[in-house]
Subunit: 722 residues, 2 copies
């Protein structure tokens, strides 16, 4: 990125086009001269006494960033001496000796005659440097700063579903960033830029390979390659983790079994772990998908998830590494409700996991749908740390074509109240946003999913969050330039889940696209509405999973698959009477996995909020909903207004043209055109198909689709051709 | 202060870092001021009267190139008027009204008071512009120029084995350049740079999809996407072609058959072709892999390759498009010799193909091995135009890791004498490299493969050449920066196969890497030796195909596969007696497919050149070869000196460091380190395996491998793990 900045400076007479490579770390010259000089007066030097790799990264980044933003070169010195007007980077164990305590990775920025970035750790300094740069990038004042910031979650990870052959499962932005055939000898300079981008938003770990894991990664040959990545990431405070293939002791160890209770198997994992730590002393640990979607696991030997996870934890005992065991499990049982599977398998194991194990739970009970209720596991394993798995890559939200800002998806789940500690009654006059304590039995704060994840609800010592990455080898990292915001938002929320979707959007826009106020407002509005628009034309009122095999083409009519729970009809349950999955007591009773207060919200079809309605109820076509429309009319209204809202997005985007780099503008304009075409395709597919059950006309004022059900079916078939 | 200086030095280094994106079209400022000013005096303006898209591309390229090279902006004017000292771009039908006739795409550059680039076509002007820029890039004089150049082959194509999902079959430089999900609305600016690079070396067509073709490309939805690419390429004289899936009339047409003699099928193809030409008026035509490696074809209906090809030709009759039908066929018969298959299937069809059909033949009879004898089809289908298929991507030559300059591979085939018109006796005193005519019955020139391909031998009207592309989404296009030279060399040879490997290497190095004379010489020497070095450690003395499934890991012991001709032992035939495939009369007699003069070269194991020996003979281990060593000792010598030569390559490369961009230097240094490691792996795999048959010791002075056969087998197994 350093290189690119200079190339751009040198070639500034040739073009202003932006290929998106620099993400939100643009560091372009601030145009307002007065402001620039004001910043420059406070940033005349960077003082750092120590030369650890992470501190060097921090000082270099600050130097490079300020050089770009202020247009002058800022010296790095070992000591400020008696000089003022510079930036001090100070690691100090005493940084916590005051009321607002810093945790290990937290930072404090104070400024008077000098700007002091203080932390108990080198990593905290690095995060503080990015925070200071963010202030400058956003044009905020840096005089009289007093910023304190601690991460709310300890392990903040990206999960890469990347394969040895360079493909990415559910990747839509090119190939894997990791070039396994070239490593370890050839180290792509891009790895460093990847680390910088992650460090800038507080991400401190990365699982480099797919959860559908290849055993290759545990061979000596591949561990060397992984170590070469770790060597780059280390200077940015990022630890490397590996997804492991559970039967590896058989496939590469030559053992006859992978039974987690077999002593030879346990020894194999212990030896392998020792081998890894010799190469990568700060190795983070293992992520495991076992007995899930055909992946082998401990149940193949009559053992439990706990047996499997605890075996790996034992191997990690000598080291500072953890086991992240995924709860994404379900059986191919046509009579069962997949919604209930993870809760059924995992809650009986609560308390049986080693203290190095954390259970990684997807936000919803199914699989990263555009809208899902929160997983009923959250709150229901009080003796076991649970971590959150969000999906940043847009597997079910339009690949790299559709513009869906995901912070509202993440926030919706994090802010959901599990009611694990009962109902919190807000004070009629809330002070400072806090809740009033009514008595010993009443909790102070609601039992949100966020408080499960950040450990505060059950007092977990270990807290973690994972985002399935949307990065790839595309020059702009994420395919759709607007999807960079999802990577950014995930990182910012992993650090502090109380940030608002809007605040994060504003940060990202100003650093990445433009600081022109009207354009910032227009784009932020687009971002904040984008997810609801997508849901409306794609899966409104609680619909889910109407996709064909690649999760791209609409196929609500799909009724055959290798497994019943991989068909579309399994989920929407359309019939002559109505639509939706009855998960009340008359149906699968999945609702019983939630607390009574939650059940009360969703149990009654009359009062269940429309966004969740078809998740829990089979609703007759002519049933009048709370909107005043029948189900059928409400569906049509959503599909039509949703698709039409993409036109509104196009119009809004057209207005910001003068404020946006022309290459980025053209790119997004093209994607919105495709999104509009596909939104209408989605709308037509659903409506034409559901109409065969509802037998209802399309209500005024909406026109009939211009094609038949056969037409849209044919369109979907294209995506099944080799 | 020291630190500050260091940082500034670091930054100034980074300012020059080169990510390889610009390929050989760098246009960096010429450092020699006198030279720059000399050029500038001749290039004060660009005059072009017409504004066709291709002429606009030509003028824009010249302007951009000269601006970069000379550091000043050059105006484009409609007419030079009476001014001199500029560059005139002149399309003129009269450009051929002189002795050295120009063909349609040829160009002439003359310079006195002005530089005149003349051609009969806009495309010729574009090629002339790149030729002029090349002169300047290489520091050659441009005063008193008199360059005439005509392409020797009419259709000069890249073949992309790219799939709809973004993967590339045998691609080692990232994903496909074509972003199918985004097209047609989003048009990556990179498509234009792809077209520029190709036009600069004279490539005038591109087959955008894999020969193992998806029927998707013939759907209305995908044709729109292909048309969007064609719209970009057209301004650079590049036509788009499609690989077609032969049963498409069934899979997407809904017909019950794809029988090429069925009237409905013929109508379907005619209609589809009309549909294509409506969208892409300059569409180039179809490439077909049929009845080959499991792909369906006309033989499924009892028809011949000619029936299939002629049906497509009929559909193309109203248009200026062609059918390229591949001769890459072989049956899974353990008793047959795959070497003979294409000749056996295709020579009986000579003269039976429509005039729009050209048969595309791989350079060798097997499959793009590091060294193969030329295909016996060349010269043996005098009534049918044959085109050449070279592989640029390094499927069998070390992926993107090993440095193999391929011009010598291409040249070796092109210069092979088929002796179709008998033996040419060179004059004892050759004049100007020409051969003396001894009498009416003796040909003027040898019947080289090149003269089959360029049409001069049999008077083909249609001539074509295809290179399987090594491009991908990697920033530097080809993964290994040195592999850019293979794309370049292919294009240059497609234009003029008489260019020498060395001349092309020099051009490429000077335009791409450095003009420092000693470095140019060192790198050219490395390039010219690289292929022989690879052959020595990989497949010496005529060995072939010792690869595991992905064609990466050595697996000479592989004896099981879905087909017998997909095992390694099928090819090398090692046993207790010796090694090699007997293709003489005592064996498969494949040699009989060649002319007697060729047979004479290769038929006798005593005189057969060592590079081809094991292609044609099963040689006893202890047999003394022309080198004076036994077969076993010669093999060991090749494997050891080959692997050791990679160390020499590393040392040579280290010497050019001061002359090379640091990022490129580091990248290649890393790849060479891996290449060396893998060369030893190859050596050890072959030697340890063959030793189980030869029972011979490794001759002095070579040390025994440091590992066992089991060790290297285990290493290969890694590449078969998921």
């Amino acid at each position: 990125m350093k290189r690119l900045i200079f190339c751009l400076l040198l070639l500034s007479n040739l073009a202003h086009a932006d290929d998106g490579y620099r993400l939100w770390l643009k560091y372009d010259l601030i145009k307002d001269v007065a402001k620039r000089e004001e910043y420059a007066r406070s940033c005349q030097f960077i003082a750092v006494s120590n030369q650890s790799p992470i501190l060097k990264s921090a000082a270099d980044e600050l130097q490079m960033g300020l050089q770009g933003l202020l247009g002058k070169s800022i010296p790095i010195v070992a000591s400020a001496g008696s000089r003022t007007g510079g930036v001090l980077l100070t690691v100090s164990k005493d940084a916590s000796a005051d009321p607002q305590q810093l945790t290990q990775e937290g930072y404090r920025i104070t400024s008077r005659t000098t700007i002091n970035i203080a932390s108990k750790s080198d990593k905290g300094i690095l995060y503080g440097v990015f925070a200071l740069l963010r202030q400058v990038q956003m044009g905020q004042p840096i005089a009289n700063l007093s910023l304190n910031s601690n991460p709310k979650i300890r392990y903040r990870l990206l999960n890469h579903w990347d394969n040895t052959n360079g493909t990415i499962e559910r990747g839509y932005a090119g190939e894997s960033l990791w070039k396994w055939y070239e490593l370890p000898a050839t180290v792509d300079p891009r790895y460093r830029d990847y680390a910088r981008a992650n460090a800038s938003i507080g991400i401190n770990g990365t699982v480099v390979n797919n959860v559908n894991a290849s055993a290759r990664f545990l061979t000596a040959e591949y561990l060397e390659k992984v170590a070469a990545l770790a060597n780059v990431f280390r200077a940015y405070g990022i630890r490397v983790y590996l997804s492991v293939y559970f039967p590896a002791p058989k496939t590469i160890g030559g053992l006859k079994t992978a039974d987690p209770l077999d002593p030879e198997v346990r020894k194999w994992w212990a030896d392998k772990t020792n081998e890894i730590y010799k190469l990568i002393p700060d190795f983070g640990g293992f992520l495991v998908k076992a007995n899930s979607e055909g992946e082998p696991g401990p149940q193949d030997y009559g053992r439990t998830h706990a047996d499997g996870a605890n075996m790996l934890a034992e191997a990690l005992t000598p080291y500072d590494g953890i086991v992240m065991w995924r709860a994404f499990v379900y059986k191919a049982d046509p009579k069962a409700d997949r919604f209930k599977a993870a809760h059924e398998e995992f809650t009986p194991l609560d308390g049986k996991f080693d203290k190095k194990v954390i259970i990684q739970v997807k936000n919803g009970p199914i699989d990263f749908q555009p809208r899902e209720p929160f997983s009923p596991l959250f709150g229901n394993m009080p003796k076991t740390p649970l971590s959150m798995e969000f999906q940043i890559t847009q597997e079910y939200t339009g690949f790299a074509t559709h513009w869906v800002y995901e912070a509202p998806i993440f926030k919706e789940c994090l802010e959901s109240d599990t009611y694990i500690k009962g109902k919190v009654e807000a004070s009629p006059e809330p002070t400072l946003g806090k809740f009033v304590v009514r008595g010993k039995d009443l909790p102070v704060d609601p039992s949100t999913v966020a408080r499960v994840i950040d450990g505060s609800l059950h007092g977990y010592k270990m807290t973690a969050i994972a985002g399935v990455a949307n990065t790839g080898s595309d020059r702009n990292w994420t395919g759709n330039p607007m999807a960079q915001a999802n990577w950014y938002a995930y990182g910012r929320l992993a650090w502090d889940h109380t940030l608002s979707s809007e605040a994060i959007a504003n940060e990202w826009i100003k650093m990445t696209l433009t600081s022109e106020p009207k354009a910032v407002k227009t784009i932020a509005n687009l971002m904040l509405k984008s997810r609801e628009i997508y849901v409306d034309y794609n899966t409104p009122i609680g619909l889910s999973r109407p996709w064909s095999g690649v999760h791209f083409a609409p196929e609500p009519w799909q009724e055959k698959s290798a497994r019943p729970d991989w068909t579309a009809i399994y989920y929407h349950r359309a019939d002559s009477i109505g639509l939706g999955f009855d998960r009340t007591a008359t149906g699968s009773n999945a609702l019983a996995q939630y607390r009574p207060e939650v059940q009360k919200q969703w149990n009654n079809p009359e009062t269940c909020p429309l966004p969740y309605l078809l998740w829990f109820h089979h609703v007759p076509w002519t049933k009048k909903l709370s909107s005043g429309r029948t189900l059928w009319d409400e569906l049509c209204t959503r599909f039509y207004t949703g698709a039409d809202s993409v036109r509104w997005m196009q119009q809004q985007w057209a207005q910001v043209k003068p404020a946006i780099d022309p290459e980025i503008f053209a790119d997004v304009t093209g994607r919105l055109a495709t999104q509009h075409k596909e939104a209408i395709w989605w709308r037509d597919s659903w409506i034409l198909y559901l109409q065969t059950y509802s037998k209802q006309p399309i209500p005024a004022p909406f026109p009939k689709p211009e094609r038949t059900l056969e037409d849209v079916k044919r369109l979907s078939e294209i995506y099944k051709l080799r």
